[in-house]
Subunit: 755 residues, 2 copies
């Protein structure tokens, strides 16, 4: 591994001190003179036609400055999948119909929040209720209520993948099994509820401060629904308290704030309540996954046939991407010579599901990894051995899905077995105690341009100054994952500077270079990181030239930026300080500042991602056989994220992933009844608490991703997937109960053990 | 004159609506959480050694968070003349001595303004008073008290200009006269008192919002006095309510706010009171001007010998530039074959004088133009005829002073004579009624790099978007003069767009391109305007290439940006909309945004300015022979500012100049007694009010300045000079009283008439 001086070190997060001292400014901390407070009226019914809305009493309430319904708006549909306009199925406020309990119907802006709230209660909406459907299998029936015109059978998106010959594959198989798995909706439960502030300048331009993962997407879609030009809208991302996929779309309150700011001439703020987030908010897709796999006797995989029904809820949201990805993940990790996938994204009268950390992988891999464990048992092969036999390796290509460069999967499997004492523990079985394994692969950003951006996927501007400092401007969005720190590390490394030499300005669509698609799909480190490296290299070329001229060096000299100096490689005597080199480069250009822009768009990497991460996880559990309660004793993880930019940050991602995976496996679930979400508070929505966290031990295997900046690839999202299948297998190992329907509740375990 | 579609039109100011509706955010409107309020303790004595400062009682006052004196600071001197460090003579807070009544001694930051004010009264300073000197002629005597070590004779800067042979010139003269004129201190009296807010980020970086004309200068000097790196400081200029030269330096409160924000970790705000501005603030240089001129009988000028003592007050401030410029202005307007200037900048124990609208010209030209009127009378030649005989014309060169390209001075003289009915009114003399003429020339920015910037003098970044909008980023500072509007007009004109297509971000040292020297010396329209044009032309080249490729055009085609389209010249069928052209250029570059930077530094234009404006003004007055009260009946102006970018803006500058010139001529004066300024409020400081404004009529003569953007040059500052000499001459014409000592008060007139 290459020796780095900043990359690979535990650099404290740039935002740590601001957050710890409370000086960090989140959207809700922004207070503008004359600011109004907005609230949204939501549908109380799952499916209905809107006959009439009477806002007169609300509008007459003293302190109310603006009341709007869908009829007041430009009635332009939006959605993240701009490449296929037919998928854009949402209005900011319902125009004709409501499709789920919580669908946005009207909005109020008033001088304070209480007045706005009171005004909501004065709006009278006449609904004509329509039959509703909540179950994907019922929704695709011919006689099901139609939720959207133009999507017969309530299927909005289909995705097929096929390579090899699946029928022939199964004919060759010695062992075939088919299982159906179901997975449930869970909440992102980010710490900061969504909030937004919009200001309209006298020239009509809008500035929007908003808690988002994707300022650029919000800018473009907001412009579209307001009928404005993109660049007459400026989106600024203040500090964000987590997103996890839940803040990557334009949201109705962003539209309402901007629209009402335009109407009233006063700034308008919206802050959601936790209850709105839980009950009406986006969630992880529930899926119904039917998977058939075939093996040779010796464990060699020969074929897989995967069918997934995604329960999208009332709108597409990021569902098309989830549909696209869960089929890709089904083909990953192992070498399937013959593979077929058929995914359908199905509308139901429930709050829309959308992107959530893992983006199709936690669901698809729960099924795939559980099935792998089941097959191992039937074939009499150790589950890790079975995986090793079929594991993907560097150079593997799956048509349209994966071109794999770096891949440390085999090493991960071996390391996690060693760390966890797998062989011993797996064999010496104690009642009520079990150990299981789960694996993952994940993308380092997406290639397929569903947003149809006209810009490179990431961009960075680097300005170098003669005082030895550097300013990095990028639209990449730090939403708590630490990308501002990681990008500054990459830049400091490339330029041989210290962290305190780097100023970072990020995520302001008017000020930072166009564009960056945002923080999702684990894309930032690789894509924005590459843009940073490209910009930095241009800066270096300018400085190298200046030094070469100053010392009158032979053109074949190599140069380096190292420890604050720019010099002929290994020759500190033939070099100057970074700042002096900048001054020289500037002088050579009659004073013009030293500035460069770098861009990154993945090329020749297929349609999915430029690089894949890999990992394996082992969970050890004890199960109380009286109560069915599962305690996860310890988690071991070996993963391959390429070069580690910041070990503490990677560890933080791992721990956060285990926390989310734990909740997904055992306790978290948005419970639904007739389209209504029943758990309305964190008292009813059972997230693991700090004391619930298992001990954990982890290791990054040493790989170098050629497509990544300094060899790095994703580390933040894939890790959320292996925990549920590992725990499910450990529970089976401990109790004999095999869960195919998440979450693994005590009730299910007790019932399963009785069988 | 070239036909323009945006340039030359009365485009409303971009900031007009914000200012009219009160939504414009000035520095004092900025309120940050936890913000402290600062106040400054000033010296009550004109000259003293500081023996001791006891801040203990102030520091103990509840609510006081920070008290500092010079001893707490890094004790680094600063000053705008970085090129000559010896001229940098100010500490942010006095370290050893105080040198004027008002010199800054200590500062307090407290939870509110009242507490800070109370704390000031608890600071005890022991002074050892020193003899003081207030008069320049006394200050240069050998026995005068020494104000600064290292400046013997209290002369800090000398400036000499000489060309031709002055002795020989005077020998040729048929008529020689020598006069001494004295001019007085006046206040900028900007509407917005100085204010500043500093925030220190957890990483130690400073952000300063400040009411300034020169964000870049403040950034650099603040870094220097704090011992920080320039780019660890970000200076943002909010809306500014006027500067007129009074806000172009680093000021002690800017240092104190930043230093105490660093110490306390809390934002600190300073807002000056009007009394502080009047009593302790910068002012226009009082000067003692001795001018000797020689003519041939026929009125031909043969020689001039000019000596000026500038009363600089206690520190250099912008005095060196004033010293430099008043000698240049003495050589302007007329063809002096032999010229000599000797200027001395003299310290006195008074508040420092500094830059003020006109920057040496109002003083120097009051003398020169008065003397020209006096000579005309003696020679029996009409004053306008005498001027026409000697007037500078295009192509004139004065070594080290002027290389004149465009020059409409002769036309100005003829037009103003025609407009005012000069010949008739001058001849038909009515008692108590008079008419007089005064002229000016002024610079369009300065060439001599006294700030020693390493950057081009102006810079602009232009980002073009496929939605047909363009974003202009520039560090140029709109301080109320309307430069944001003028630069947007220039850009819109160049790109064939409308004003609403242009977004402007200006005057933020971290976000806008390095650098711009600020708003002074009438430099912005020409210098930043040229940078804008250069950037726009690069954008056009990219778009022209894209259109050429799309229509497969012969390489000899010319192209144009016109009415929102990019097309082959005169061939709208071979073109696309601006936005489409941008999209095409982007596609050709695989999505990279269309961005360009332009820069401007004057080259091959000598040491003074790249272009000179000219003008002539006639004032008609009536004088009440009982009271000596002067009423200015009407002012006629003909001036040459090259291409007029915005007629209303030019008219606004003219009216503002007449207002200032009127006050300078007749009523405004900071009255001093033993180093103390006596007029502490606007009740005692007699600015003309709206009803005092004379009728005025003006005309811009048609010239085209080849060095200016679209032919433009300065229009905002030179116009302040002719009013005083024109009124003085008109008063003489009306009363026989010749004023050589401004202002022309009723007392002086009555006394003069008695003689």
């Amino acid at each position: 591994m290459k020796a780095y001086s900043i990359v690979g070190r535990d650099i404290p997060r740039r935002d740590a001190r601001s957050k710890a001292t409370g000086s960090a400014v989140y959207t809700d901390d922004i207070k503008l003179p004359g600011m109004l407070h907005g609230r949204i009226l939501r549908s109380p019914v799952p499916h209905a036609r809107i006959l009439n809305i009477d806002v007169s009493r609300a509008a007459a309430l003293p302190g109310v400055k603006c009341v709007i319904t869908g009829q007041d708006t430009p009635k332009i549909k939006y959605g993240n999948w701009r490449l296929f306009p037919a998928t854009q199925d949402e209005y900011p406020l319902a125009v004709d119909k409501v499709r789920f309990v919580g669908d946005e119907v009207a909005a109020v802006a008033a001088v304070d929040r209480d007045t706005a709230e009171e005004a909501l209660s004065l709006i009278r909406v006449d609904y004509e209720e329509l039959p509703a459907v909540y179950d994907v299998r019922r929704a695709i029936r011919k006689d099901a209520p139609l939720i959207h015109e133009g999507s017969p059978g309530n299927v909005s998106v289909e995705r097929k993948i096929a390579y090899g010959d699946v029928r022939a594959g199964f004919r060759e198989a010695d062992y075939v099994r088919e299982d159906t798995f179901t997975v449930h909706p869970v909440s992102h439960a980010y710490l900061e509820p969504c909030s937004t502030v919009a200001r309209c300048d006298p020239d009509g331009r809008i500035t929007l401060w908003t808690s988002t993962q994707t300022p650029y997407i919000v800018q473009c879609l907001l412009a579209s629904v307001l009928g404005m030009r993109e660049n007459d809208i400026r989106v600024i991302k203040p500090f964000v308290g987590g997103g996890f996929g839940g803040k990557m779309e334009l949201r109705p309150w962003e539209f309402c704030a901007a629209f009402m700011a335009k109407k009233t001439g006063r700034p308008v703020k919206f802050v959601l309540e936790r209850e709105e987030e839980l009950v009406f908010g986006r969630r992880r897709h529930p899926m119904r996954i039917t998977s058939k796999v075939g093996f040779k006797k010796d464990g060699t995989l020969v074929a897989k046939d995967l069918k997934i029904l995604l329960d999208g809820g009332a709108y597409n949201a990021m569902g098309p991407t989830a549909t696209f990805l869960c089929g890709n993940f089904g083909a990953m990790l192992y070498r399937y010579p013959n593979y077929r996938f058929y995914g359908r994204h199905v509308y139901t009268n429930k709050p829309p599901a959308s992107a959530m950390r893992g983006f199709g992988a936690p669901q698809s891999l729960f099924a795939a990894e559980s099935q792998m464990n089941m097959a191992a048992e039937d074939l009499g092969i150790d589950p890790i051995e079975l995986r090793l036999k079929n594991a993907q390796v560097p150079g593997d290509v799956i048509p349209d899905v994966a071109t794999i460069s770096s891949c440390g999967f085999v090493e991960c499997l071996r390391e996690v077995a060693r760390m966890s004492g797998w062989n011993r523990k797996r064999k010496t079985h104690k009642p009520g105690r079990g150990i299981g394994v789960g694996c993952y692969s994940f993308i380092s950003g997406g290639v397929f341009n569903w947003f149809n951006t006209q810009y490179p996927f990431s961009a960075a501007e680097v300005r170098a100054f003669s005082d030895g400092t550097v300013h990095l401007l990028t639209m990449a969005s730090d939403i708590g994952q630490g990308s501002d720190t990681a990008l500054a590390q990459i830049l400091a490394e490339e330029l041989g500077l210290r962290m305190e030499d780097i100023r970072v300005t990020s995520a302001d669509t008017a000020m930072t270079p166009q564009a960056d698609l945002g923080s999702w799909g684990s894309r930032v480190t690789l894509m924005a990181g590459n843009a940073v490296v490209q910009a930095a290299r241009q800066i270096k070329e300018a400085l190298f030239g200046a030094v070469s001229a100053r010392f009158n060096l032979n053109v074949i000299y190599d140069f380096e930026c190292k420890e604050g100096r720019v010099q002929a490689r290994g020759r500190p005597d033939r070099g100057v300080s970074f700042g002096e080199a900048v001054a020289m480069a500037q002088k050579a250009n009659r004073g013009e500042p030293v500035v460069a822009r770098g861009y990154y768009t993945p090329r020749n990497k297929g349609l999915v991602t430029p690089a894949f991460s890999f990992g394996a996880q082992v969970a050890e559990v004890s199960v109380d056989r009286e109560t069915g309660l599962v305690e996860v004793e310890k988690i071991w993880t070996a993963h391959d994220c390429g070069t580690v930019i910041n070990p503490t940050a990677v560890e933080g991602q791992l721990e956060g992933s285990i926390h989310m995976g734990l909740g997904y496996a055992l306790s978290e679930e948005l419970r639904m009844e007739n389209g209504r979400t029943l758990n309305r508070t964190f008292l009813d929505y059972k997230m693991p608490h700090a004391p619930d966290m298992p001990a954990n031990e982890s290791l990054c295997v040493d790989t170098y991703e050629p497509e990544g900046p300094m060899g790095a690839k994703e580390a933040g999202e894939g890790l959320v997937s292996p925990t549920a299948p590992a725990i499910a297998e450990a529970v089976y190992h401990a109790t004999g109960y095999r869960c195919k329907d998440l979450p693994i509740t005590p009730e299910k375990i007790l019932k399963g053990m009785k069988k």
